[in-house]
Symmetry: C2
Amino acid sequence: MSLICKMPAATSAVPKIGCVVALAAFTAMPGWAQERFEVRSPGGVVTVTLEVQNGTPTYSVTRLGAEILEPSALGVRFAEGPSFDGGLSLTGTETASFDETWEQVWGEKRNIRNHYNELRATFETEGETTRSMDVVFRVYDDGFGLRYEWPEQDTLGAFEIADELTTFDMAGDPIAWWIPAYGRTHYEYLWRDEPLSALDGNQAVHTPLTMETGDGLYLSIHEAALVDYSSMSLLPMGDGVLKADLAPWGGNDGFTLVRGEAPLVSPWRTMQIADTPGGLIESYQILNLNEPNALEDRSWIEPAKYIGIWWNMHLGDWSWGTGPNHGATTEHAKTYIDFAAEHDLPNVLIEGWNTGWTGRWWGDGVNMNFTEATEDFDLEEVMAYAAERGVNIVGHHETGGAVPNYEAQLEDALALYARHGVPSVKQGYVDFGQGIEHDDAGGVNRGEWHYGQYMVEHDALAREAFARAQIAMNPHEPVKDTGLRRTYPHVMTREGARGQEYNSPGGGGNPVDYTTVLPFTRMLSGPMDFTPGIFDLGPDKAHHTPSTLANQLALYVVIYSPLQMATDLPEHYEANLDAFQFIKDVAVDWDDTRVLNGRIGDYVTIARKERDGEDWYIGSITDEIGRSFEVPLSFLEADREYVAEIYRDGPDADWKTTPLDIEITEALVDASTVMELRLAPGGGQAIRFRPASEEEYETMDEYAPE
Amino acid sequence: MSLICKMPAATSAVPKIGCVVALAAFTAMPGWAQERFEVRSPGGVVTVTLEVQNGTPTYSVTRLGAEILEPSALGVRFAEGPSFDGGLSLTGTETASFDETWEQVWGEKRNIRNHYNELRATFETEGETTRSMDVVFRVYDDGFGLRYEWPEQDTLGAFEIADELTTFDMAGDPIAWWIPAYGRTHYEYLWRDEPLSALDGNQAVHTPLTMETGDGLYLSIHEAALVDYSSMSLLPMGDGVLKADLAPWGGNDGFTLVRGEAPLVSPWRTMQIADTPGGLIESYQILNLNEPNALEDRSWIEPAKYIGIWWNMHLGDWSWGTGPNHGATTEHAKTYIDFAAEHDLPNVLIEGWNTGWTGRWWGDGVNMNFTEATEDFDLEEVMAYAAERGVNIVGHHETGGAVPNYEAQLEDALALYARHGVPSVKQGYVDFGQGIEHDDAGGVNRGEWHYGQYMVEHDALAREAFARAQIAMNPHEPVKDTGLRRTYPHVMTREGARGQEYNSPGGGGNPVDYTTVLPFTRMLSGPMDFTPGIFDLGPDKAHHTPSTLANQLALYVVIYSPLQMATDLPEHYEANLDAFQFIKDVAVDWDDTRVLNGRIGDYVTIARKERDGEDWYIGSITDEIGRSFEVPLSFLEADREYVAEIYRDGPDADWKTTPLDIEITEALVDASTVMELRLAPGGGQAIRFRPASEEEYETMDEYAPE
């Protein structure tokens, strides 16, 4: 096959670099043109082919000889007027190449390369009143993104999208790790892994949807830069076809998916592709497809660890609302502040300090008062006590899903926190399946989808208010992460999956392998406030958190979050200060991240280098099966000796029976050391590597496998 | 559960080390005792439990929380007299622990640790005439072996085994890579990978049978030290049960499997278990379960590369038998000798130099004369010509499956070769499905199974004759390897799978992914004379060998053999001496082997260090999908600079269209370098690492990813 390679001006002269190839267009039928365009990624790894046949565009994707997507659909259908659902003319194409390296304000990796080739194709509808739409492809060595753009035009003002036609027609029958996108509720389900074909005729599934192909490639479909639009889930249509399924607005007939007005761009529909499961984690494509940082002053945004008045409520010993066992009392707050000060933990979260936790459990949120403290909580006194001890109080906004009530108080609520120097707020959008309250044009109208456009817009409103108040965000029951933290780095972390709270006595429990699925699925979207660090483990506990102690420590490295909780009660940490030392030491902001091994749902080992420091950390976890790995430390700086502070499962450790068996030891290592990581069933290993002092170098034993 | 841990005297005092645990025996039924014994591997990784209930012993296996084998059957049924098939009394148990490190004469790794805990259980049959049998378990951190031992006893002299009852009852439904064990023929089939359940009701399958469990563990069932017995294949019985299926003696009713005489031990039934596919390759359990080296003088055994008059016969241009295109002429031999001498290749194989290649194709072998040269081949002249040039001639014995004809001439045949200093002989046992000829008690009786006891015994006879003649062996169409090379290191390599010859014009072709399955299946049994190194590649060739040139080079590292052929014609190497340099350089004997990554049937990367030298080599290959890997060079000696001589796929390489696109380049690396290996579809990468000279250290560029 002889290709005519049209080189975009900005790219190198080597054909495989930045080559956007147009095959000769030819007439397939009288009156219809067939056109075909290939875009190859900068390193020649991924190829996207756009083809237009009989007025219908499709795209397909290959990677180094592997067919990834068969010809897949493109287009949208409007509620009114000409739609982009067939009968289209391709009126122009543009190609471009882009290469920059940008710096994350905080994150898993400091410097990220954004290197892609782009194809922009402009389509017009047929008929008298024509509308215009661009389809834009950005093709990376680690995947691709595509989006729709509706430029300003006379024939398209305000519009409603009734359907998005985009499909991903998977070649073959990959294994998919999926959670259901049930109606209005949020993302807290257990992943199941099944061949995609087993999902046919089922409900839609959420993104990121991670898959493993028969060829041993790893893919994940998600979206980037979800703004002014509705979330996309994926509807399995049979034959490997996954169709974009947009959450509708609530309270109407369910057919309005997006309310827009040109000019508008859709979120990017994205696919990451990697040779190994870990390659997905090391891909920053979702961030690359977001806009650059929009905040001029970022000095107030700080990654940090925190403790909080919280786990005791999940244990059932304290309550959120007032009463005999109220958690958020002045006295409890002081105890937590003292503990934080003693152990150099900068932040203390206090949940349930405000009034309005009434009605069903936490109520339906409509009575929440975000500025009024309960009688047993003296806000001013607590804030003063914390400030004296150099500790920050983390704010809390539980909306109960009553968004109008929250929005009405938001400015005041943030002003109160800003006055006290609160660095971040944990928000909650708990509802009970009835959806998000939405006072639409006067009538109260509960039932907006947690991930529909209403919540996407609320998110934007809150994001702006928080930016003005210079307070960081940590929403729970959130809209899924789509990488907006690149643009708005004060949206630091979020929930959006089953956290550790599911291991509480009433939580139903996460299975042992849960945290070995998370890094390859939910975590591909962004940081998660999982809340690791339960020390009070054991089969005799009302909560049987399914992990060893070393596994709990390893989670601080494995599950990335710039706000990371030390979740357990102070007394449980005080009972095991040796192991707690790792939580005190571990970084929360990183210069680099390397995935050393991993198998989705079975195990994963991640190394990260701290930002602005010399230390490296390793976290390694496994499911209910014990494992042994050889791990070369080639990530360490060459010609330098490090002390490895090793927190590993003891010889008798087992999550089921003896989770507290841990060995803490030190040894000298360097970049040429190969460590043997032995993990117990449900176990883990956490290691800190710090440069050795001269004395340590002379006196400490070199690392030797057990 | 509280265990009473009886420590064998030889083991350490730490319970997890060498702990053989006997649970309290209790009476389950009047008159029957239930007994249960646990043996844990030295590192506490693998546990084998022997249980006797109602006179029937079973064994089961777990590994770090994973159930590997459910209770599985033990026993044998004799053709006559009391059998070990139920109604057994356990009359004694013994435990032992063993730890040694031994040195391979040649091999993938110089020093091998043999570290296991052993349980020996003695059983007696019931009734008046009792017979005794031991079941011995050796439990390693990387698997286990079990065998039957029949000590000398009055009630058991000569016997016939009518059935072996051993089963492997797999927990769950692992994926199995299998080839069929069809009747009498040999092992040259394509692997299929399917859930074990898909095999139920099918024919038996060969070992090594490699499997991947749902937990992400990798297992392989095989046997070790196959002597005086019949080969075991595995019959899927449903519900994950794999039953030992012994090849019968030919020519009778097919019910005699083994003819034995006490004292006798069975081969070891083995299972390797690893956390990664590569862990299977790095396990030396099969060798460990063989007896130590039995040859006092090993000085004559030398790993070596060879070329040969062979591939041209597969191409159809020359013939084995005499005629107008006879391959083995004096003139051709001299050309090959000249080429070998020029390129420092020590050995030249010459096939078809002897008389008797008559009848059907190669005949049925009965006319083969192993000492008489054809008219156009002057043996003395060729041998003298080779000796003058410092080249050895590799001998050839094609039996055509006519074993009696071969055995009758064997001493003379070997004497001839010994006189000429022939270092090794390639043997052939080609038959056409009719089985191996066997002149049993006078009447000619074709039809012994290729892997039945008759051939196992012939193997032993030949092995002894070759040892006396001090000539090494390379049998094709052999009995499968079971690690006997530890005991008899002159049995250097063999075929026993589809080699490169299947890529010849009439060969039917190996699929692209074939060589990515081989290392995890066939190669677990031992070295293979695959014959890599085809340079005359391309879609325009009558043979379309499915690989790039770099892939062919990488096979010299990936597929281990101490006798390694440079397979293609001298003129094809002369046309590409740059790439041929790797074949000239690569070692054939190794100090160490590390598997850097791998996925069965998709890709594998192996690093090996040459024996008695400083060089390391990497071979990396992939299937029809191109891939990119990050490979830390942590195996290199620390604080030392190496030159990496890199043979990699060029930017346009593709096995299908452009297999010859190769880039050969050099760069400085050290133990902290992380290389990026980019493999084309059907591609590979071969790298030699040699210590850098001072000048190179100062002038050569450091390695940087493409």
